[in-house]
Amino acid sequence: MSLEVSIKKKFKGFSLDVNFRTNGEYLGILGASGSGKSLTLKCIAGVETPDEGRIVLNNKVLYDSKKNVNIIPQNRNIGYMFQNYALFPNMTAEENIGVGLKLSKREKKIKTNELMKLFRLEGMSYKYPAQLSGGQQQRVALARIIAYEPDVLLLDEPFSALDSQLKSELHTDFLDLLKLYNGEVLIVTHSKDEVYRFSENLALIEKGTITGFGKTKEIFEKPRTLSEAKMTGCKNISKCIITDNKIYCSDWGIALETKNIPENCNYIGIPSNNFEIVNEEGINTFECKLVNVIEEINEYTIVIENNNGSKTKPIYFNINKEVWDNTKIKDKLHIKINDFYILR
């Protein structure tokens, strides 16, 4: 089971140029709005046409600009879930779910009833989308595309239409329901949480090109490029130069030491929970002044700046509320950096 995509398309403001292939596991595509992730899905589905390239799904060529192949969406056997679900407002939940099934009326009814049971939509048969809750609509949309067992599922920001309140609960629920489908899933989202929970593999997309690709957990735990660090949410990133066997971070004015400094070391990234307040100077410790304290729900975000006179970028780190409240001297701090990413 695999999907190979290699396409180019001129788009408003930038050019889409993506190249990737899947290996049977779920693939998440993480990118900001307008980065081209939805467009990629639409090209795979066939509702948009690239300018050139090739798309192959399970060894069937869906699109090949050189050979003039462009199979219409109706024949691509893919399942596409739209951001706003695109449920047909003039059809009931039952009719919506059955719309992609090519069966006799009787068989269709049996199959849709079965699906409605599995998707916990019993009793909703005669309801119209406008009468369903957000979560129910989402389940109808998912049931609709799983019903005819397509070769791949393309999910376009499946949670963006829901309240954040519900999201968490629905994530697990949704994952369970997805297991009812036996094929590959591509999920496109701007949410790091979603992509972390849903997909084993991760592709990062920025301004139309893929800037990172690999196993999701690995990328989040140890980003290796500037792009990976930024997109996995690392707030503290600085340019750096290697002098004297030390890594000098120019944006913050601090020098870091480590055992093996690799060749390609252009940036340093420090996750916000890798800081510690200490009492004296030491390796990878520096003195800083307090700029701001932001109270979050479960912790504080402390904003600090280097205290050596020159203008530097602020650094953000998280700290347990109790620990901070118990810290005596707050204006002048010694901060130790416990671990950091070396980025290309």
Partner: protein
């Protein structure tokens, strides 16, 4: 009061709305589906033209095509003994020409209002273009189309300028309600027009109410209270 103008007007408007309904929807469907923006703008302009041209100009163009001295009109007269001008058919032609843009624009607006994602979804779900049109686009566009149809009917009923030019003003044959009203007023006979004017006002009011009804009905699928 002589009821014949009213009957003629109703007959003319009824026949013309049937014609306009189909060609209006057909034209709207083609224009919405056009790939090239430039072509679409030009065709849309041409199809909307009768809306902004004075009815007498429209009458002029109709005469240009169907008048007995013109190639087509002469041909019909010589070979089929059919004279379109000054016949009841001409009232229908005039009515169709002036009301067509209203039907076309309403239908076009209604089609464009349909969420494009729904059409894309239909395609990915394996629905043929035809099935998408009849099961998704049309049902959702119907209220807007119906509203346009009602408007077109009212316009056909009130058509005057082009009708006088191509159909003349023959009692019991082509003297429509607006022509009758105009003749009464021109003769200084205001009293004679009261009846006709009352009829026109009542029909117009009914038309507007129907339009509003269809518009409200149109939001039915988006409103959960409406669906209960």
């Amino acid at each position: 009061m002589d009821w014949s103008p009213m009957l003629i007007s109703l007959k003319t408007a009824s026949v013309s709305i049937i014609i306009t309904f189909f060609i209006g929807i057909l034209a709207a469907k083609s224009v919405v589906g056009m790939k090239s923006d430039k072509v679409r703008i030009v065709i849309d302009g041409l199809l909307t033209l009768p809306l902004v041209l004075p009815p007498t100009v429209l009458g002029f163009f109709i005469l240009l095509i169907l008048g007995v001295k013109r190639p087509l009109g002469k041909f019909l007269l010589d070979f089929f003994s059919v004279k379109i001008v000054f016949s009841w058919t001409a009232t229908v032609i005039a009515a169709v020409v002036v009301s067509f843009p209203l039907m076309y624009r309403s239908a076009r607006g209604a089609f464009e209002q349909v969420d494009k994602n729904l059409i894309m979804a239909g395609r990915t779900l394996g629905m043929s273009e035809r099935k998408i049109f009849w099961r998704v686009t049309m049902p959702l566009a119907l209220p807007g189309i119906a509203s346009g149809g009602v408007l077109a009917f009212a316009r056909a009923l009130g058509e005057f300028g082009a009708t006088a030019m191509v159909a003349g003003n023959i009692a019991n044959k082509t003297r429509t309600l607006p022509l009758a009203i105009y003749a009464e007023v021109a003769a200084g006979n205001m009293e004679g027009s009261y009846g006709y004017v009352a009829v026109v006002v009542i029909i117009s009011f009914v038309v507007l109410s129907l339009m509003n009804y269809f518009t409200i009905k149109g939001s039915k699928y988006n409103n959960k209270d409406e669906l209960k």
